[in-house]
Symmetry: C2
Subunit: 475 residues, 2 copies
Amino acid sequence: MNKLPSILVSATFLCSVSFAKATDYFVGNVNALGEVAKSVKAGDTITFASGDWKDVEIKLPDLPGTAEEPITVRALAPGETIITGASNFRFSGQYVVVKDFVFRDLTEVKDAVQFRSDSKTLAEHCRMTECVFDQPTLYKPKGLSTHWLAIYGAHNRVDHCYLGGKSNLGTTLVVRVNEGAGHHRIDHNHFGPRPELGENGGETIRVGTSDVSESDSFTIVEENYFESCDGEVEIISNKSCENIYRRNVFDRCAGSLTLRHGHRCLVEKNLFLGHGKPNTGGVRVIGKDHVVRNNYFEGLRGTSSRATLSLYCGIKDSPLNGYAPVQNARILHNTVIDCDSSLEIGAGEKPGRRIYPKDCLIGGNLFSTTNREIMRTGPSLATIRFVDNASASRNPPHTKDKPIQCRQVTVNWMRDSNGMMRPGISEDFRASARSHISDDIDGDTRPTFAAIGCDEPGASGAAFPTKDTVGPQWK
Amino acid sequence: MNKLPSILVSATFLCSVSFAKATDYFVGNVNALGEVAKSVKAGDTITFASGDWKDVEIKLPDLPGTAEEPITVRALAPGETIITGASNFRFSGQYVVVKDFVFRDLTEVKDAVQFRSDSKTLAEHCRMTECVFDQPTLYKPKGLSTHWLAIYGAHNRVDHCYLGGKSNLGTTLVVRVNEGAGHHRIDHNHFGPRPELGENGGETIRVGTSDVSESDSFTIVEENYFESCDGEVEIISNKSCENIYRRNVFDRCAGSLTLRHGHRCLVEKNLFLGHGKPNTGGVRVIGKDHVVRNNYFEGLRGTSSRATLSLYCGIKDSPLNGYAPVQNARILHNTVIDCDSSLEIGAGEKPGRRIYPKDCLIGGNLFSTTNREIMRTGPSLATIRFVDNASASRNPPHTKDKPIQCRQVTVNWMRDSNGMMRPGISEDFRASARSHISDDIDGDTRPTFAAIGCDEPGASGAAFPTKDTVGPQWK
């Protein structure tokens, strides 16, 4: 254990000052870590030496930060401490901020970075920020499943990180769900390209697992940029309850935000931009009481499980790892432009999976396609209520079996600086006296008669994330 | 039938001009009505003579207004055409505006004013505005049940009216619900005092009936002022699905906004001000998937079915007119100050009515009482999730059976010009990374970490209705 060692002073004067009683522990190798972890107190900093840290086990248990005086665990210089190889990095405690590390070419270890130090000692109110997880060269050993980052505990945050290039089996970032914990926030990250895996296990984010999928996680995934996350059909795999997916951009991702298990999730104000790339999808809904509102979808080419709005077929008395029937889904005020399959109700039908979505409300959505059918459905629409939807397509909406109520409108789209198409101000189509929602995709307040689609014409709010506004600032 | 008759010209020049091709029909007595109704076209006006119209049958069927050119049916001078006694007033058609009438001391007729001309001919896109319904003297013949105003059809509106003083059996204003219709709006009305009836049937508003309560009505009741509406335990009786009750003020009303039947209703941004009057209540929840959020409750003295937040007991395999079990209720970010019974989960228990609320989320609420218990519950809280609630009470929250998670906080309340108490700016208690809702009671945007209670500190939006801002402007 070194306190303000000479190596640090020689490396940089700026980082080495000890303020008041706070101490900056410098760590040159893993042997010192045990002592540092025992000595560190609220307000202290642990600084890792620059260079490659290969095949190391880093463990910082029970760090006692506080809200006022968090403990910082950082690289000496942003991006110059590189954890690599068969390494793992675990920490736990309260109010710990981990920042400026690079995790590169991680191999072999199942959960490389963990918000816990052992199975019973979890992180709370901890944060990982300004870190990079990448894999510049293809790495795909047969049968090896790993996760780069696993969030445990409660009230943790991962923000302003870059995670891209994972090519082997296993979800990039997983949230482990326990009853009574959760409340995590994953925001302002750049999820870079992930190549197609060719099998299940190529998700970019998974929140929960089927066995705990009836538990609340209260996790928020917001303001992230997903770029060509093509690992598999599920870009994000939701497997718990009460999560929010909000204001993310999905740019050319060959998959869907999939509510695979769990109930009562909210998907709102996201941009899904397919640019005509094959297999690009939107939101797939499975389970009860999900809300999908105020989203924008354009140029998506997926169908069935990758349809823009895919309400999937369920299994009767489904086991936890099966397909819970869709019930009471609320698909409200979304805008869908030039998508191959805008809305599928009862996608994924096959023998043994034939419970059709039930008691759903499809309201205030605006569809626009040139020559594709808007909707494909299974045989049973009896309990699906269509209210105040509009179509700006040449072909009126239809299904094989019955027409759906859908207002026919004409729109002259104009593209804005976020990349979204918005209707001209004179094309102001209003829903009837039923505002399903309080605000629009920009956060603008909705009046009693809300505009159909995701956008309330007029002043718009904050810009959406771009590759430049997410990820580490030092990168 | 008179076209621009001399009586009108002598009464006023201002109202008698016929613009372009529009005609102003003057009606001096009911005999002329049939001919007028047949002749009237889009853009025309039908003007009723001043004076008392006693024991009359007024019927205006199938009036062919359009969105651009509505048909106006009005009193010659606001408030001087008085329909009274055993009268009724029925109209139907499209885009008709009825305005400036007084309906006073209505007797005997079951539905005095109707948005239909007969059982098959209903009003659509019609509006009743700037009218008064009152009863200056007590009228309570035994067994006689009447409604003053019945809304049928679709897309109709009742606004800026005064309705007060009904003392006999029967709901003041009823909305008749049919599958596929609805979408009404009831707004900016002043519901004046209604004395205690002493039995069921003294509601001020009822939306639907038990037999159609599984149908959507999509009715919005917003920006109304309810003053001492004491008729019975239900100020408003919701008996259909998908209705919104928003930004109303309930001033000293000895009852509750009751979600009696139906599912998926939203109760948000209302002020319930009891001022310590006995039996004043808040919101009673029965049924599935209701949301009660961003409301403000103060000084309420009701308990059980009149508790501030009353989640009622249900009946197993309930018939439509029974008590559907509460399921998936979301009670979010309400503020409850100085109420006798802030939250009752499983109120109304009795033999045969013992299905306790299930799968509910109680989140982000702020409770403040001096010396009363916050919560009373039945035996089963297993599936009720308490998240991020806070108590500014001296006594920590408790139940008979188990403690509930509730943060203890200190608040110095400040009363604002709306009559609401708001926490001082330094008392900013935040919910964890889970914003349940997009905005607050004022319409202010909620950040990721939302303030506990109904109010996001800082700039506030539009003022709430007062007696001066609702009802007819001429009154």
